[in-house]
């Protein structure tokens, strides 16, 4: 029983550390939002969001221990997303 308890506790350690990091990043992004940094408010908040998304994908969605097939499937969505954004930006950001 005691052994089983220790074993289930072990399951919390890795994900727990990622969770603490995610909450610290949340506190950081909310705090930085109140500093007058101009355009950098948006840039920093998006970078922090990207770091949080990466942490969730790599550790919670277990891409760190997934096979190449699964990683490709995950990246496929990102690939099309990049096409979607870059082609649209190529139009809107270059209009006079």
């Amino acid at each position: 029983m005691n052994l089983a308890g220790n074993t289930t506790l072990r399951l919390w350690i890795g994900p727990g550390a990622v969770w603490v990091a995610l909450l610290l990043l949340l506190a950081a992004t909310v705090g930085v939002a109140y500093l007058p940094l101009g355009i950098f408010n948006t840039i920093i908040s998006l970078i922090i969001a990207a770091v949080k998304v990466t942490l969730v994908m790599v550790f919670f969605m277990e891409l760190q221990s997934s096979s190449a097939l699964i990683r490709l499937a995950a990246l496929a969505g990102m690939f099309w997303l990049i096409l979607l954004f870059s082609l649209t930006a190529g139009d809107y950001l270059t209009r006079q």
Binding site: L26, T29, A33, P36, N41, K52, V56, L84
Partner: protein, 211 residues
């Protein structure tokens, strides 16, 4: 052996291969979800680029307290979901049940907070249409995005809560074996719903706070 065969379905030769197929299938579905939400985020980017002033004025009206609290709730639900999925893989039935229940409760807590927030938004009259309280008129574009994005996210979360609680009940009643590969698939979907919210936070709540 019987545990193994209860979780294993045709045509997979082993649980390992079946788990791989579940992950691949769910990731493929998530890729379509990413593009669905991606189009939404793209329209936000285009309009914010066209009307930056209006978006700043409009975003100041969102409630950052609820936004941050709900982010913390969803991040915590992702933690309990990970542990549920991993303890299922190692056949810890009790821990899996507790974590699935915690995930469900945290999902419901998110919806309750969102409900209070929606109530405040409605009382402030922040519904695009005639007599919209903010100016210029383009602030309504931001608030249309707010309602559509958070609404669709809430629908996804409600579906997630339905799936997680159903899996918990089926596991409790012995209809679903503890080593079923379904838990890993459910977890992937839940984390995507979390990711969408992580991206919505800076778009809806964090702009226009400093000035």
């Amino acid at each position: 052996m019987s545990e193994q065969s209860a979780a294993l379905h045709e045509p997979w030769p082993s649980l390992e291969r079946q788990r791989e197929a579940v992950s691949f299938g769910v990731w493929t579905f998530l890729a379509s979800e990413v593009l669905f939400f991606g189009a939404l985020f793209l329209s936000y980017a285009v309009y914010r680029n066209l009307y930056p002033q209006a978006f700043t004025i409009a975003a100041r009206q969102t409630d950052i307290f609820y936004g941050a609290l709900n982010t913390a709730i969803l991040l915590t639900s992702s933690l309990t979901m990970v542990v549920a999925s991993r303890s299922a893989k190692e056949s810890f039935r009790r821990m899996t049940l507790w974590c699935l229940a915690a995930t469900t409760m945290l999902g419901l807590a998110f919806l309750v907070c969102k409900g209070f927030e929606y109530r405040d938004d409605i009382l402030k009259g922040l519904i695009p249409g005639p007599n919209f309280p903010l100016h210029p008129a383009e602030t309504q574009i931001f608030w249309t995005f707010y309602w559509v994005a958070t609404g669709i996210h809430a629908v996804h979360l409600i579906i997630g809560i339905g799936i997680v609680s159903t899996a918990a009940v089926r596991l409790y009643r012995g209809r679903l074996p503890i080593n079923a590969s379904a838990f890993a698939g459910i977890a992937l979907y839940w984390h995507l719903v979390d990711i969408i919210w992580i991206i919505l936070l800076p778009l809806l709540y964090l702009i226009g706070r400093a000035s």
